[in-house]
Every structure is written in C-alpha cells, then in structure tokens.
C-alpha cells in the first residue's frame, strides 16, 4: 500500500482546518447555502434524503488495516455503525451530522484518507483492479500509475471546474476487473515491442446515455501518461458542453465529434505538451514506487495438505470455489470477502465487521484490504495454508457467503432508501433476490451471473453492464423496473438490451427467476454461462419467458 509522506499529511490537516472553518461559518449564517454547497461537495459531503452523506475516497481501492479501523471509528462515533462500499471503490457514510463532519474528517486525515474530489465536476478517484499487485495475469501493478494520476489530479487548477465529473480506471491484467470501458477514460496497461504503455479509451460511461469507451490510441508509452491525459482533459474542458448537464460528460463530446476526430484534437494538443514538465521519467516513477509497501512473499507449496483436507468439506469447497483466486506467488491466494449476505444490503459493512476484518487483514493478509468495484472486500495476500482457518473466521463475521460472481453477488446503488436522486428503491429488490436464491448449491449450479440494479437512470448500480440489469422507474408513484439482458463490463464490454416494458416491483424476483430457469433449460451444459447463452440465443427466448402470461 502507499505510504503518505509529510506533504500529504500536512495538506490533509490544512484541508480539514479549512473545512472546519467553512462549516462554522455556514452554521453561523456567515455563508449562505448556495455559497457553502460547492465547498461541502468538494469535500465529498452530499445532502441526501435523511441526512448528510460523506463519501470517502479509497485511492485505487487499497486500504491499510489502520485505515479500515479509522473508517470503523467514524461509522461508530459519527454515523449509525455502518458504511456502504460503492462501485467506485469508495465508502459512504449515510448519517453524519454537519457539525461533526470536521471531527470525522480529522480522524480520517490521521490515517491519510479523505473525501476530497469524491464529488464535484473534477477528476474523481482513479479506480483499478482490486487484485492489483497479486493477480497472476497482470503485467505490472497498475496502482503505481493510479497514484501518479492521483498526485497530478488532486486540486489540479485547470480541471477543478470541468463541464462534468470525470472518472478514470486502469487495468493491467488480461481480465479487466476494473470495468475500464465504461469510464470517461479507460487505460489498459500492456506491452508492445518490449515496452510498457497504455491503450487509451475515451468516452465510456453509463447513466442516461450509456456508451462503451472507444480506443483513441492503441499504445501510449507509459512516460507519456500525464501529458496525454492532460491533452484529453484540456480538449474536453474546452469542447464539452456546459449548457446542459445531461450532455456534459466527455462521452457526449466523443460521440458528437466521433472518436477519430476527438482523438485527432487530443493528438494536436498533445504534440504541444508531450515533452513538457509532466513527462514521466524512471526516477520520478521510482520515487513514487518507493512509497508503496509491497509484501515480500516467499514461494510456498501449492495446495498444502491442510488445504487439501479442508476441500473435502463441501461447504469450504463451495466458498473456496467462489471466493479464492490464484495469486501470482505460489502457495498464496487472493480472497474475496462477500458483502452480499442473504437478505443484506449489498456493500454494507458494520463498524464491528470493519474492525474484525482489519484484525484478520493483519493476521492473514499483510495488513492490506482492497475494495472491489463489485462492492466486496478483498484480502490480496493470503497463504493457502491459512485458508481453512481464515474461512472459519470470515464465516463467523458473515462475510463468507459463497456467492462471489454468482446471481446473489448483486451490485446495487443505495436507491430511494437513501438517495435524493433515486426514483425507486434498489436494495429491497437485491434483498428479495438473495432470499429467493439463498441455496448455495443452486446458485453454484447456475454459475457466473452478474445482476446489477440501479434506482434511477443515473445508473450508479451499473445496470447497463449487468448480465441481468434492473433499472427502477417511477410511474404514478409506483415502482416499476425495466430489465436488460446481455450487458457486461469486462474487456468485451457491451450494453444490455431492454427486453420489454417495465414490470411492477412485486414481479421482479419472479421474472429474474424465470430468466434463470430459461437459461438452465436452454444452456448447452454447465460450461455455458448465462451470458454466453444470451449471446448464443439472443434475448428472445428470455423475453418470451419473462413476459409469458401467468
């Protein structure tokens, strides 16, 4: 993980002091709400349905155990004892009082975390692979570049008032676990002729106008990362629309101009600045790399006897099959902690759980925890011989549901239960689905299936890229849901296809079950996943079953 230096610590302390003064002036009436709103948003503070919400940035999804304990303290002291992990690797606290926000922020600043640039029309938290630094299929740890971007984009004076928010994601692995093609800029680290560089995609995004990002440069040498990003941002900042909030994202500009024309403008701008001060050199990268604490893992025997014995237990084997992923170092594993218990709100984690997970991270994962964009947590460095013992402890905490990647591993926005923008609730739909599909053997048989739920067209639940996407729409104060099929957010990203008219809230779980049953009846065998079956068959047979008269 990245170890902050004195510059970072001083900056955060000063920022908290500044915000404390702003809050005091707002409460005294010296600042109007209009004056204050922008200031609070720049610190990640929203006003939601019932209370203020603080969104805390977790840079590239990497948390030290002491940072997770600080999040637990904030949840306990200033909130209602829990937090909600989001699809952008952040955490949200839903019940914080304005007057107490500076104290909460001061506690977070002590461990180097904050809410800066988690809102507003600026460059947001750069996200990446939750398995970064541990995955066997990556060519390099992408967090180094995410940190480079963090340093460049934090309080960047030119890009603090963009036409709209701006999200960057990086992947350095064969498998895209960061959904880079549905970000404003997606960066895929790869090698060409022995050199490391990025494929650069722009204009991806979900929301009311979803687009898959388009490649404007197949290979960008890594030393040119910041100059090229600067050229993209400058082109967008000048050309992006500011007259219509719904048409202000870069995806609209890229779509209107065409990716080729947009790319040409970027290249022209880049030609002017490519050899400027932002060009990266090996010494600069090495200095940032030196701030990352990477555990030195010794190679150990694969599948040690204690693991082989434990795998004879069907319950452990089920969890292992879903939650344990191969590590790049022999004898180690990556473990995903499911925050999707049956009947629970997806992504929620209590303060007690956070503390206990931090303790387990110290004991089993070199003090490191990751936040996955699927709203789960990850232990990146676990010895295989420790897996049986760890499983028992995770089970006791309620974070070992064997459903990672399965139908109940649902991505869901907070929906109308919390969000001021939502049209419908999302979490209750997710809860109903997890209850209907509570049988672990059944969901294992169904296999890989991503269900994503959004409570409004802003698509925070990424419904467009769910294998089954569920979008809430309100009609005459009744909750209805549109169903899309065939979306996916990976390297071959695709938007789901709407299968028909919206259905009432009471029918959603039945329809999801009918879609699953249709898949089970039509698949060529257990080896054909739900999404593969949809791609082979098209949506028609699923549509027929979903809307069949009952």
């Amino acid at each position: 993980m990245y170890i902050h230096d004195e510059f970072d610590r001083t900056f955060l302390k000063e920022r908290v002091a500044e915000f404390r003064d702003q809050v005091a002036r707002r409460l005294s009436g010296e600042l109007t709400e209009e004056e204050f709103k922008m200031l609070r948003l720049m610190n990640g503070v929203y006003l939601q349905l019932h209370a203020y919400m603080l969104r805390v940035c977790i840079p590239y999804g990497t948390l030290a155990s002491k940072q997770l304990r600080a999040l637990a303290r904030v949840a306990r002291r200033y909130d209602k004892g829990y937090g909600h992990f989001t699809t952008r690797q952040n955490i949200q606290f839903n019940w914080i009082k304005l007057a107490e926000l500076p104290d909460a922020m001061a506690e977070l600043a002590e461990v180097g975390i904050h809410g800066i640039q988690t809102s507003g029309n600026c460059i947001r938290n750069t996200t990446t692979d939750a398995f970064a630094g541990a995955a066997p299929d990556e060519i390099e740890d992408p967090r180094l570049y995410a940190e480079v971007i963090r340093q460049w984009s934090t309080l960047h004076p030119e890009f603090t008032y963009l036409p709209r928010k701006f999200k960057i994601a990086i992947s350095a692995a064969t498998h895209d676990r960061a959904a880079i093609r549905v970000h404003d800029v997606g960066l895929r680290l790869h090698k060409k002729d022995g050199r490391t560089g990025f494929e650069v995609m722009v204009g991806g995004g979900l929301g009311r106008t979803p687009y898959i990002g388009q490649t404007i440069r197949e290979f960008l040498p890594k030393e040119d990362l910041l100059t090229y990003l600067e050229a993209i941002l400058r082109t967008y900042n000048l050309g992006g629309r500011r007259d219509n909030i719904y048409k202000a994202r870069i995806k609209i500009l890229v779509h209107d101009l065409g990716a080729e024309a947009f790319g040409k403008l970027v290249e022209e701008e880049w030609a002017k600045i490519k050899d400027g001060a932002l060009k990266l050199d090996e010494a600069g990268l090495a200095a940032i790399r030196a701030h990352f604490h990477t555990p030195d893992l010794p190679a150990l025997p694969e599948k040690p006897a204690v693991l082989a014995d434990a795998l004879k237990d069907p319950a452990f084997a089920r969890w292992h099959a879903q939650s344990v992923t191969a590590h790049k170092v022999p004898g180690h594993a990556i473990v995903t902690l499911s925050l999707k218990p049956v009947g629970g709100p997806p992504g929620d984690c209590t303060a007690d759980q956070m503390d206990a997970i931090a303790d387990l991270a110290d004991a089993y994962s070199h003090g490191e925890v990751r936040v996955a964009h699927e709203q789960n947590l990850v232990f990146p460095h676990v010895r295989q011989q420790d897996l049986p013992a760890l499983w028992g402890k995770l089970e006791a905490l309620g974070v070992a549901t064997p459903n990672v990647g399965l139908v109940t591993d649902i991505i869901s926005c907070p929906g109308l239960d919390y969000c001021a923008l939502a049209n419908t609730r999302s979490i209750p739909i997710a809860q109903q689905i997890t209850e209907r599909f509570a049988d672990p053997e059944r969901i294992a048989d169904i296999g890989l299936l991503h269900v994503n739920i959004s409570g409004c067209i802003n698509a925070c639940g990424h419904h467009h890229v769910g294998h089954i996407g569920i979008l809430g729409v309100e009609k005459k104060d009744q909750e209805f849901f549109q169903i899309t099929l065939g979306g996916k957010g990976n390297a071959k990203a695709r938007l789901g296809e709407l299968i028909g008219p919206a259905i009432p809230e009471t029918e959603v779980v039945d329809v999801v079950e009918r879609l699953v049953d249709t898949y089970l009846s039509l698949r060529t065998g257990p080896g054909e996943t739900f999404i593969a079956a949809v791609e082979r068959l098209g949506v028609e047979p699923f549509k027929d079953s979903a809307y069949a008269p009952r």
Partner: protein, 104 residues
Amino acid sequence: MTSPLQRKLKISGPTVITANRLADGAVVWLANDGRWAETLTRANVVTTSEEALRLLDIAHGDEREAVGAYPAAVALAKDGTPQPATLREKIRSSGPTIAFQATA
C-alpha cells in the same frame, strides 16, 4: 399577461413545506408556529398556491435552520392529520425501508 417576475406555484391539494435541517440534515416540516418540526403530523397544511408560496418564502428566508425547502403534497387522514402522499415522502418521513446493520 403574466409578469415574468411573478412566481408561480401550482398545488392541487393539501400541501406542506418540507426541508432538511442544516445542522444534521434531518427531515423537517414547517409547523403552524413558523418553526421547523421533526414530525409531519405537526406540519402546517395549506391548500392554496398563495398560502404555499407564503410558507415557502418563510422557509427560504430561514436557511440557518433548514435548507432545500420545497412543497410536498400530503394526504389527510380522517382526523385531518397529514400523511405522506408519495413513496419518496414516506421514506423521508419514516426512514429507509430496510433494516440497518443487516450484515452484523
């Protein structure tokens, strides 16, 4: 001809003014005494656009106590007590429909 400066507010039934309290964001309603109440049952219910506009002016003039004031339609119980008229206002009034800390 209507002046462009003339404000319009069309309401079609019993209406209250609601907002979020500045200090903690809690949902509040403008009561008969001109103060912000924590329960909808204490809200001042009006039925004309003029009355609603007058209350909205009071609310907007009091940004030290509450922010984001807007008119919300209500239904009236048999005894005249206001009830939320929409799901959104029900949730604002009663809190999330899901249990907290379900993962504990």
